[in-house]
């Protein structure tokens, strides 16, 4: 009969769990999915490494040789050297935190750097004011970036302003107020500030952009997955509808032609089966099938193929449940369904915190179900009251 091949077609995909996209992704980039954060983190991670390398290179390759060269010629060589060492320690500490994905303590470290700034300018003395031995002018701004990473850009601007003020104060105090000196100082401040600001702002912008793009991509993927699942559900449903209409039409045609007798129990049973199947199909209102309902439906289809008229009614949308809870809910029912005789009523009542699945079948002489019990969060109940056999599983969020 046509129904045999037809059911076989629908049974294949019916047993495969369908993907269930997260509802949250629909709200867009505002609540970016974890995938987007991962991409943004990767982009940010690259920028962190770049800034650490620049600061380290400047400190070791430019500042250190200049300090060593100038040596005792400076006003307070020990102060300049100590400042270099303190800055190196700050850099290592902040760098390690950044590489581990964290953020350094911006406030205290920034204060330390500003103190170092003033001390080194003073320690270098007038003679070395515009030389690389006064290494804070050129190199310290990169350390500002390290300690202020991912903080608001205005913090950086405030620090650079303090840095510039220190330099200007030194220029004025040492009396280097000739126009040439002043313009040189201005050029120094400008030249050493713009690049760090550009890097800082650029890295933040790139990270934000990466996050936005990844969020869009993730949302698009989620929509596509949902569409695919809905499409698959629709195709499955159409296949089943074709099959059901086929069997229903067949019975109706035979009845109309007088070939089938409505009084014949076999004919009535066929009519009952076709009607039950049509009802179940009509009751399927979910566009993206829930995994639990999907399993129960597959079990119902299977039982029906063995000639058992079965009603499956579900109320509410089950929450996303771990596989073992879904098993706990569905397995006792599928077992009871296999032993059912006469008819069966399968119901699901679902709320975010509770799911109750029940199977009721008429009492028969067959073997009894495994005893009532429950493992873990799913309670399992089996009862015979002389009229019906009643299997119920119930999960409550704890």
């Amino acid at each position: 009969m046509a129904s045999e091949s037809g059911t076989a077609v629908s049974a294949g995909p019916a047993l495969r769990p369908l993907p269930r996209p997260r509802a949250a992704t629909r709200s867009g980039a505002a609540t970016a999915p974890p995938e987007a954060h991962a991409v943004a983190d990767a982009s940010d991670g690259g920028a962190r490494i770049a800034v650490i390398v620049i600061a380290a290179a400047w400190h070791l390759a430019v500042a250190l040789p200049a300090v060593l060269r100038a040596g005792p010629g400076m006003a307070f060589p020990a102060v300049v050297a100590a400042g270099w060492l303190v800055t190196a320690l700050v850099g290592v500490g902040a760098g390690v935190r950044l590489l581990r994905g964290g953020l350094p303590a911006a406030g205290p470290l920034a204060a330390v750097l500003l103190v170092v700034d003033a001390a080194v300018v003073a320690g270098a003395g007038e003679r070395f004011l515009f030389s690389t031995a006064n290494w804070v002018w050129g190199g310290l701004a990169w350390f500002f970036l390290l300690v202020l990473w991912q903080r608001p850009v205005r913090w950086l601007l405030v620090m650079l302003a303090a840095h510039g003020t220190t330099a200007l104060a030194a220029v004025v105090l040492y009396g280097a107020t000739a126009p040439a000196d002043l313009s040189r100082a201005a050029m120094y401040v400008y030249g050493t500030s713009t690049l760090p600001v550009a890097v800082f702002v650029g890295a933040a912008a790139l990270t934000a952009q990466a996050r936005g793009r990844a969020a869009t991509a993730a949302a698009t993927l989620a929509v596509a997955a949902e569409r695919e699942a809905a499409e698959r559900a629709r195709t499955e449903r159409q296949a089943r509808l074709a099959l059901v209409s086929g069997t229903a039409e067949e019975v109706l045609a035979e009845l109309a032609a007088g070939d089938a007798d409505p009084a014949d129990p076999a004919v009535r049973r066929r009519a009952v089966l076709a009607a039950a199947r049509l009802r179940r199909l009509i009751a399927e209102s979910d566009d993206v099938p829930d995994a639990l309902l999907h399993e129960l439906r597959a079990a119902a289809d299977l039982a029906e193929r063995n000639g058992l008229p079965i009603d499956l009614v579900s109320v509410g949308t089950p929450p996303e449940l771990p596989v073992e809870i879904r098993r706990g809910l569905a397995d006792p029912l599928t077992a009871a369904l296999a032993a059912a005789e006469g008819w069966a009523r399968l119901t699901v009542v679902a709320a975010p915190d509770e799911v109750v699945v029940s199977l009721v079948t008429p009492e028969h002489d067959g073997p009894d179900e495994p005893a009532t019990g429950g493992d873990g969060p799913v309670e399992h109940l089996h009862e015979r009251d002389g009229e019906i056999r009643w299997t119920q599983t119930r999960w409550r969020r704890t």
């Binding site: 209102s285 009614v313 009542v349 109750v356 009251d385 009229e387 009643w390």
Partner: protein, 238 residues
């Protein structure tokens, strides 16, 4: 099956007049045949237009209304009839919970899924005629699964009775399972239904259901959040 015996007593003399509105003649014939076997009921008029049917049978005590007429959901018509005091029993193949609850909100006395069969249909119409609730299993499922934020608050027993009634479709089995009498099961279920008269916009039919429930002692006004002044004349002082 679970019809309230009181419903019959009230109208022992003359049969209850019923109007059937459906756009499928075959359904009308089927329902007419169901009701014809019940001597307490008499079908007065049938048709596919509620206004025409009620013009033909202005005295109909219960209207059986198919919720989808000519491809359109007639919830607005249902609300209009209920507001005017018509006892409307909605019966529909659309037995999704949202539709059922919307029908109750609009003032339907009861909701019957078309596949629920003759016994439920007769019992529902009989109960409706005397402004008493009747909750067929599908409606019980919709009520117990109601997740709307403004849903009526049901007691644990009421919820359990609704759930088990929805699952088993047998009040005897529910009674055994809950270790109470069938009568008590029905009380829990009906009380839950009465709480729904407070949901949605007011309608004459809802007021009638509520008034009858209070009269029958099924609910107390304070159980469902109706304030009654202590100075009220008809309230015996303790």
């Amino acid at each position: 099956m679970d019809a309230d015996p009181l419903a019959a007593d009230v109208n022992a003399g003359t049969p209850i007049g019923v109007a059937i509105v459906d756009d499928h003649p075959v359904v009308i014939d089927g329902v007419r045949a169901w009701l014809a076997r019940e001597p307490r009921l008499r079908v007065l008029a049938t048709g596919d237009d509620p206004d025409e049917v009620l013009r033909a049978a202005p005295d109909a005590e219960v209207v059986l209304l198919d919720l989808r007429l000519h491809g359109r959901m007639v919830l607005d018509k249902l609300a209009e009839l209920s507001a005017a005091g018509r006892r409307v029993v909605v019966y529909s193949e659309h037995s999704d919970p949202t539709t059922m609850l919307a029908a109750l909100d609009a003032g339907a006395v009861a909701f019957l899924a078309k596949h629920e069969g003759r016994e439920h249909c007769v019992a529902t119409v009989l109960a409706a005629a005397s402004d008493r609730p009747y909750v067929p299993p599908a409606l019980a499922g919709a009520m117990v699964g109601d997740a709307r934020p403004d849903r009526p608050s049901l007691s644990d027993k009421e919820r359990e009775a609704l759930l088990l009634w929805f699952q088993s479709m047998s009040k005897a089995s529910v009674a055994r399972r809950m270790q109470i009498s069938e009568h008590t099961v029905k009380q829990y279920v009906d009380r839950a239904r009465i709480k729904y008269t407070r949901a949605g916009r007011p309608a004459a039919t809802k007021a009638a259901l509520l008034a009858r429930a209070i009269e029958d002692g099924l609910v107390r006004p304070e159980d469902i959040g109706i304030y009654r002044s202590q100075a009220s004349a008809d309230r015996p002082t303790p």
